[in-house]
Symmetry: C2
Subunit: 111 residues, 2 copies
Amino acid sequence: MAEDKPEVLKGTLDMLILKIVALGPIHGYAISQRIQQISKEFFQVQQGSLYPALHRLENRGWLDAEWREASSGREAKFYKVTKKGRKQLEAEVLNWARLSDAVALILRTAE
Amino acid sequence: MAEDKPEVLKGTLDMLILKIVALGPIHGYAISQRIQQISKEFFQVQQGSLYPALHRLENRGWLDAEWREASSGREAKFYKVTKKGRKQLEAEVLNWARLSDAVALILRTAE
DNA sequence: TCTTGACACCTAGAACAACTAGGCATATAT
DNA sequence: ATATATGCCTAGTTGTTCTAGGTGTCAAGA
């Protein structure tokens, strides 16, 4: 038994990160905490998922990064969403809405 | 431009197949048509996604297969959901509900 | 003092799903 | 004749997520 396969994010991670960062400049570690907290612990973003995702989003021009001092007093890399990133977020939110509608259609099919 | 990346299914394919097959015995090719039709063309299940998925589900004991004559008069592989498959479907539907709730929580966060 | 835990960053490699792009074969319609 | 629809299949690529490590700082407690 114990066949748990986490892999819980299902392609939503980029969208979730964009959304969180769109709320205001924030550093990576705090992003994962925020996602976990807002989702009531449903999402637990592993660091091995988080940091590659952030670099991916930065490389695509959807996020900008800058080293600043965190509230803890230590240096951290703060991200903000670019103009391109906001358009991308919009597109992903729209696509997510369509996707979940389509899934709902199928799950509600009775015959 | 033209940066369309399909990969539209986002880990939902197994659940969708289980759901469709749970409605009654049906062969592979028809499953993809059914999914496409019910989802109003949102999902277009490529054959290169469909058949590996069916074999995956069969190997895990969630589907049973049997060659029978299709309405077209030709032989086709008909699938039905096993008892294990129904439990799996239930679990996946529940997980999907939780996932989309969690996503909604994050997308609705205003500050 | 020493060590644990939280913070904060990172990467390499494995696992896996979905895709592209091919293949085979039959039946019907043009 | 040949194109289209049906119906099955696989190999190989791509991309995301995971595990499992690594670095270093700082505060609290044993």
